[in-house]
């Protein structure tokens, strides 16, 4: 019993030790800083955005970057910097909402199937294969077409497809963890399956999922921008990086800043997520799971 109970007592300072080690790594610090700023910008863009992102200004159409408009203006005379900042709200929301539900559904499904195996596993396997062999973007486009446009429907569409990747990852991890002795120990001590899975197997199996989640958030933004380009993502006049870039595509030479600036924002946020992901991967592996 002590072997199992023991881990929970030491959990608080284990977390502090982990954070201590994490912040020792430069890549973690940079990644964390970028994401923290992104979340801040997403929460209160009105504080940082100098202009109203939707206001037309017919006198200032497509002006290059200047002091008044650090990122220049678009073909409606709207300030690109403000639109990029307001886009943080949509894109960070996209990064979170398009992945968090997929993660929860995927992890739960993967955990149960990985733990119980048998028929459930084979059926699950075939369903996962069916969805994975399906062209990802095509499936999302079709579901968005069925549900109708709009961000909420886009999140549903992405979640319906994305959970499979989390489920596959969790299932594999649970299968390896299940072989360890402490799982058998739990059964011997009469723990319910649910308790074994969620209190003991999952904490050890979750680390690669967290690492994947980081990169997945970056990919969700990329996917959202591709849908924006196809007109199936964020609805105008809301600002979203993908939409901003595709709006600027026609003016690549005459108004290069219209596409470049949102592009920089996407890269920076993507960099933040992947640095966090890399650092977490190294840290969790170093823990010698």
């Amino acid at each position: 019993m002590s072997a199992l109970g023991h881990t929970s007592q030491r959990r608080p300072n284990r977390l502090l030790a982990f954070l201590g080690r994490a912040f020792a790594r430069p890549s973690f610090v940079i990644g964390f800083a970028i994401i923290a700023c992104s979340i801040l910008l997403a929460l209160c863009p009105q504080v940082f955005a100098p202009y109203d992102p939707l206001a037309f200004d017919m006198t200032a159409i497509q002006q290059p970057p200047s002091l008044a408009h650090p990122f220049g203006t678009d073909n409606f005379g709207r300030d690109v910097l403000s639109r990029v900042i307001w886009a943080y709200r949509v894109d960070m929301q996209m990064a979170l909402l398009a992945t968090i539900f997929a993660l929860t559904i995927g992890v739960t499904a993967g955990a149960f199937v990985g733990y119980y195996g048998g028929i459930a596993d084979t059926i699950f396997g075939r369903c996962v294969d069916a969805i994975i062999t399906f062209p990802f973007l095509v499936l999302v486009i079709a579901i968005v077409a069925v549900l109708g446009p709009g961000l909420v429907n886009m999140y549903i569409a992405i979640t319906m497809v994305n959970w499979v990747y989390y489920a596959r990852l969790t299932r594999a991890e649970i299968m390896t963890q299940k072989a360890n002795d402490y799982a058998a120990a739990g059964r011997v001590l009469g723990f319910s399956d649910r308790r074994i899975i969620f209190r003991h197997l999952l904490p050890n199996a979750i680390s690669p999922v967290i690492v994947y989640w980081m990169t997945d958030m970056a990919l969700a933004i990329l996917l959202g921008s591709s849908l924006g380009y196809l007109g199936l993502g964020a609805q105008p006049p809301a600002a979203e990086w993908g939409v901003l870039i595709s709006e600027g595509r026609n003016f690549l030479l005459t108004a290069w800043w219209m596409s470049l600036m949102p592009g920089v924002a996407i890269v920076l946020t993507g960099l933040g997520f992947s640095l966090l992901g890399d650092a977490l991967a190294d840290l969790l592996r170093a823990k010698g799971r």
Binding site: T133, I143, G263, G277
Partner: protein
């Protein structure tokens, strides 16, 4: 080589997946708002004509009947006629599939050429400035949307510097290498970013492994240590990733084919959806399903070639 029974078992596994995809796509397509009759005739068909077209396409039959017809035809190899292209679906797919396959393999080859050495360098000098720089640059590839990178490449390298033709598809093999360089590169940037992340991580793990220390202690030349011991072990996990990226590349080149004007099946699928061309969407999806399953099977085979521990399972 993995045991024959293992191979046969995996091949049999494709069948239930294939059936599931059939049911799935049949329903999904019919849930799409609007139907081929409306999408046709530049929306100029009168209401009477729409009813007539639906009858000609058999869409006025109850769903189960349509499904039976679909299953019977598909299993007998007849994918029906594309409404948009007005030609047999199999013919349309066969004419445009080689382009996407060529582009996908070309992109993955470029990705491996790009990612391989740099992942190696990043792993050898882990957590130094070189490592961070390499990962940073690839991060750009991972987060910049293809439709933007593609256009920038086209504007600079093709239109202004004239090193490459502006999009399109060649006739000869060399012509294709020249034409598809930019699209393959813009896709490769994305794929190589994923490969670098994974290969670097597994290389770091392998370089610290005891058997590599033992190999060095045996006085083997660095080349043998690197190829036979380090690379081979690092490749095992990367092969699965490579298989996955080839898999979703088959369909992921949709945006690239639109931007670079390449007559591939990716773009065809998008056009088919926008034209509600049911037979073509179903045919394309089933083709993707089979191809991706075969790619996954090949990945497993290659992996069990590399790693004997997997052979007996």
């Amino acid at each position: 080589m993995p045991s024959l029974s293992y191979l046969v078992a995996r091949l049999l596994q494709i069948i239930p997946t294939f059936l599931l995809v059939m049911v799935f796509i049949f329903l999904l397509v019919r849930m799409l708002p609007g139907d081929p009759a409306i999408a046709m005739a530049e929306a100029k068909a009168t209401d009477a004509q729409v009813v007539q077209i639906r009858r000609n396409l058999g869409l006025d039959q109850p769903l189960p009947v349509q499904f039976m017809v679909f299953v019977k035809n598909t299993l007998s190899g007849d994918l029906g006629r594309s409404i948009m292209m007005k030609a047999p679906v199999s013919e349309v797919i066969l004419s445009r599939l080689p382009t996407t396959i060529f582009l996908s393999l070309y992109a993955v080859a470029l990705a491996v050429l790009l990612a391989g050495p740099l992942a190696f360098l990043a792993a050898m000098r882990a957590n130094t400035t070189t490592d961070v720089v390499i990962r940073g640059v690839f991060q750009v590839g991972l987060s910049m949307p293809v439709f933007y990178i593609g256009l920038v490449l086209l504007t600079v390298l093709a239109a202004q510097l004239r090193w490459f033709p502006v999009g399109g598809y060649g006739t000869t093999f060399l012509g294709n290498l020249h034409h598809l360089m930019l699209p393959a590169l813009s896709v490769a940037l994305y794929t190589s970013a994923i490969i670098v992340r994974n290969l670097r991580a597994s290389l770091i793990e392998v370089l610290d492994a005891d058997y590599v220390q033992f190999a060095r202690a045996k006085g083997l030349t660095p080349r043998i240590v690197m190829t036979r011991h380090v690379l081979r072990n690092a490749l095992v996990s990367t092969v699965t990733l490579l298989g996955l990226s080839i898999g979703n590349l088959m369909s992921g080149t949709l945006v690239t084919e639109t931007v670079f004007a390449i007559p591939g099946v990716g773009r065809l699928m998008l056009e088919a959806i926008f034209a509600r061309d049911y037979p073509l969407i179903q045919g394309l999806t089933l083709t993707f399903a089979v191809m991706v399953s075969v790619v996954f099977l090949l990945t497993d085979v290659v992996q069990s070639l590399l790693d004997p521990r997997l052979r007996k399972s």
